[in-house]
Symmetry: C2
Subunit: 212 residues, 2 copies
């Protein structure tokens, strides 16, 4: 490994945000998944949850993102679940608030959310949105303000806009620098894991569900 | 037309931002163009510039976005050019600053740009970025901060993240409300145009280049 690449790997690991994550529920399109993973990597997310409950999607494994992920899958821990309860039990063990992109009655504006706290972001299916079963686990709903005629955004666009607002707030709070929240042991473990993955071509190419 | 739709059309037109635009240079993928148009509509952009200089792209007409635009093309004025000089002459007649997504030496951070001013945003080809010929017209380059291993974002993601930072700043300055910069005559003309387009199914489906 070239020294510059090693130093990049180590600093990317050390900047990871232990209290920010994304949950994708029944998102079909592998290009969308891939684009979401790229955005997650870009804003320093460490792990992503992929939840498939729809019968036709409850495969035994999924292929992650192909080209659209541009290799981002390698630098993320990906947890796939079929069971809603098991998924949210895992999420809640690491994250305090779960914000869903569901146009509910009590939806808050994206830009009113405090993204410096412990936050999981829940994005639903391209057509049906977030399921009621998953919504029951959410702290609340948020909406991305839209000033135009078209009233929907592509899921990878919605996710990127949301994650970059989190990055903006977290940079202002120096959470990629001196204020980073990884413990020394978490940081060491991530750096070790990333150094190991560096050599593995197919890491996370296929992901299998965790059993509840 | 239902009264609610008419009222939406009129208020969308009245919120349009006369001093914010996007220029796409040699962007190939119709899905990318479509997704960019959706984001443009969403943040209240009124007109978009599409510049094709590459020989294989200098068609006589292009088909705009298909499904990916979800009808956003109808609510945007789209100017297609083959000639760089003619394109930027038009841009400069309406916009003061041109910011390019080119990783130049003097690149400023996205979040340091004042988006409440008169701004055109220049996005380049998926592979080659912005051409030197177009860069010569830019006020400067900007970069979207990235904290991960992957060092590129999909163009529709990059465009959405940039445009939504503009929306954030412009909402804070009430530019979608009392501080909107459309003149009364511009607003009237846009509202009239949108009412007329409402009935036209194929509006902007195909766009032809303007002659220099």
């Amino acid at each position: 490994m070239r020294p510059e690449r090693k130093s990049r790997l180590l600093s990317v690991a050390a900047r990871r945000q232990p209290n920010l994550t994304v949950i994708l529920e029944n998102v079909h399109d592998p290009h969308n998944i891939g684009a979401v993973l790229r955005s997650c990597d870009s804003v320093g997310i460490r792990e992503v949850f992929i939840l498939y409950t729809a019968p036709d999607l409850a495969h035994n494994r999924i292929e992650i993102g192909r080209n659209a992920s541009s290799g981002a899958r390698k630098w993320l821990d990906i947890h796939m679940y079929h069971d809603v309860e098991a998924c949210f039990k895992h999420v809640k063990s690491n994250y305090e608030h779960i914000w869903a992109t569901h146009l509910g009655e009590a939806a808050v504006d994206l830009y009113d959310i405090d993204f410096t706290g412990s936050v999981a972001l829940l994005f639903g299916n391209e057509h049906d949105g977030v399921s009621g079963e998953s919504l029951a686990h959410a702290t609340g709903n948020f909406i991305i303000p839209q000033m135009g005629m078209v009233q929907s955004l592509n899921i990878s666009v919605a996710c990127a806009v949301t994650l970059y607002e989190a990055l903006r707030q977290r940079r202002a709070a120096d959470m990629y620098g001196a204020g980073n929240l990884l413990s020394a042991s978490e940081r060491d473990a991530l750096q070790e894991a990333y150094l190991e993955r560096h050599t593995r071509k197919n890491y996370n190419k296929f992901v299998r569900p965790k059993q509840p």
